[in-house]
Symmetry: C2
Subunit: 339 residues, 2 copies
């Protein structure tokens, strides 16, 4: 082996390290890997590749500085599934069952009785008030660390009722690729979801590579005070503070991120205002809507769904030429591929 090829190899190796990549082999001998390999070729994939190319082309008319490459993603129904119900609600039901032995009164008190008896009709009858009671009972009256531990424990042990997979494997493989692709192109990726911020932060880093400080969500009141043992801590109170949904999403983005996203991805009417806000800025913008059209691999639903209802946003998206991602035709794979 000549000195020159040795030099070339060492420089190549260091250059790869410089880019945060360890070369698996000489790059010039391989076809470039498709960063969105779980996406079928089509309008949606082209829209993504084209947008990223435009905003990262220095000197081009649509160039955006890395600092300003903010991308926001809804979570339920956009990054992971949301059927038969939002997973955080399934967590609340499981928690009621887990905590029931210390709450004998729940056997005779709605909405707890219905959850424990598996009585969906009774639960439905308790309405939104009932759901809020369930959330309060399972999401407050503890420190933030205790809550985190209960979510972590649930994620480690619970299984989806029909797919039988851990919930953290109900994340969408094509979206993981998209998040990684955006980050490799200098984007900062955020979750902006109606889900509870403290719930999502437990798994967002591991599941999506999104750190806690880049998760925006709904929240309950938290107080910093001395607990029963006199130790100062953060206590979760049974009171809703902020609902990061609908018109709350641009408000949450403004409050937590402080910049307007140039790319926003949602899947329901609760994401409409986020998409409107993102696209109302100057320069290149990309709005995407995931349309759940795949009743075989996932679920097919839109206008009539109790969870992730997609109606007005679909109309507006079609009228305005937003990228409508058709799960059935645009995605080669749906859920996390075993790695």
């Amino acid at each position: 082996m000549s000195v020159k090829s040795n030099l070339t190899r060492r420089i190549f190796h260091l250059a790869a390290l410089a880019g945060g990549l360890v070369a698996a082999g000489p790059a010039w001998a391989q076809a470039p890997a498709d960063p969105l390999s779980s996406w079928n070729d089509g309008k949606a994939k082209s829209a993504i590749l084209d947008f990223v190319r435009r905003v990262t082309t220095e000197g081009g008319p649509d160039y955006v500085k890395p600092d300003e490459r903010i991308a926001t993603f809804d979570n339920d129904g956009t990054l992971w599934a949301e059927q038969p119900a939002y997973f955080q609600l399934l967590f609340a039901f499981d928690e009621v069952r887990r905590l029931a032995p210390s709450h004998p009164e729940w056997k005779e008190t709605e909405p707890f009785r219905s959850v424990l008896a598996g009585d969906t009709k009774g639960l439905a009858a308790s309405g939104e008030k009932g759901l809020l009671q369930l959330v309060a009972a399972t999401h407050s009256g503890m420190t933030t660390s205790e809550f985190e531990a209960s979510v972590a424990n649930w994620l480690a042990t619970a299984r989806h009722p029909t797919k039988q997979r851990p919930y953290t494997e109900m994340v969408y493989q094509p979206q993981l690729e998209l998040l990684a692709y955006l980050r490799a192109n200098g984007f900062k990726t955020f979750i902006v979801s109606g889900g509870g911020v403290e719930f999502m932060r437990v798994f967002a880093q591991k599941a999506y590579g999104i750190p806690p400080e880049q998760v925006v969500g709904s929240s309950g009141v938290v107080e910093f005070r001395a607990g029963p043992d006199g130790k100062l801590d953060l206590f979760k109170e049974p009171k809703v503070e902020f609902v990061d949904d609908g018109a709350g999403k641009p408000v949450g983005i403004n409050r937590f991120i402080g910049r307007r996203p140039i790319l926003a991805f949602g899947n329901s009417d609760g994401d409409l205002q986020m998409l409107q806000y993102a696209t109302a800025g100057d320069g290149a913008r990309l709005a995407l809507i995931l349309h759940h059209t795949d009743g075989e691999r996932e679920w097919a639903y839109d206008r009539n769904s109790s969870f992730g209802k997609l109606d007005k946003a679909l109309e507006e998206g079609r009228a305005r030429g937003w990228a409508i991602v058709d799960m059935k035709t645009d995605w080669k794979t749906v859920f996390l591929s075993s790695r």
Copy 2:
């Protein structure tokens, strides 16, 4: 020149690039620059250097992964000055004067009359209610972009009443060095301040290298709705939403950052709970308090100051061995050095 030295030089150059640094010359020929050159040697500087060494030493007992190296800084009185009054309040006064021509009624309505007449006694008499009215009049009734523009315009033109410098030059040189030093050691630096989040975000990136999404502060209600022209936008409403001060600071940290800081730096009793929260975590922790002791170069104040009162936090800090930074003896320079 031998092939080997050529190789060495090229590898060195690439390795420097890998570290994000372009070598200005052979590193082994230079004494390492002091990253905290505006700090005098002493207990405070040693505490910082020692802490950073401990949490970044891989395999050491106090090692903290880069992801978890969260540092939070108060702003007023910690990163920039706060005398004779919080600069945001001086902004509000200046705005009242600027907007007065379109508000002839202010000449006869308190607290506006007092501001316009320079009547500090009258202003004091209007109390907290008066201050809130001034803040509402100058911080709401506009879009978030309009507000940003008014702050940017003020920062570009206003001068500090006694120091005659632009406010963005009233930032502390030693703290800029500390922020840069922490970031060079893998820390993520955040502002956690009682100041308005939208006010601070206008200058935090340029003044401190802290991006908008790493600024936590107080906020007013913001609504996403159609304006008079039918265009959807974010409107600032005259209603306080969140006060990021005192016990609100740990709450704000939990809400926005979602992790407990390992280093926290404040200067007043409003920072006490942030310091308590940071130091209550496991592992190595560093709490710092800036004590304003320099009546010549800056201002000397603590227990009896209307702005930045430091009393209980100083007691607790001394009792618990927190690093008390004495501005007069610990800092070689106070304000931003001309660059």
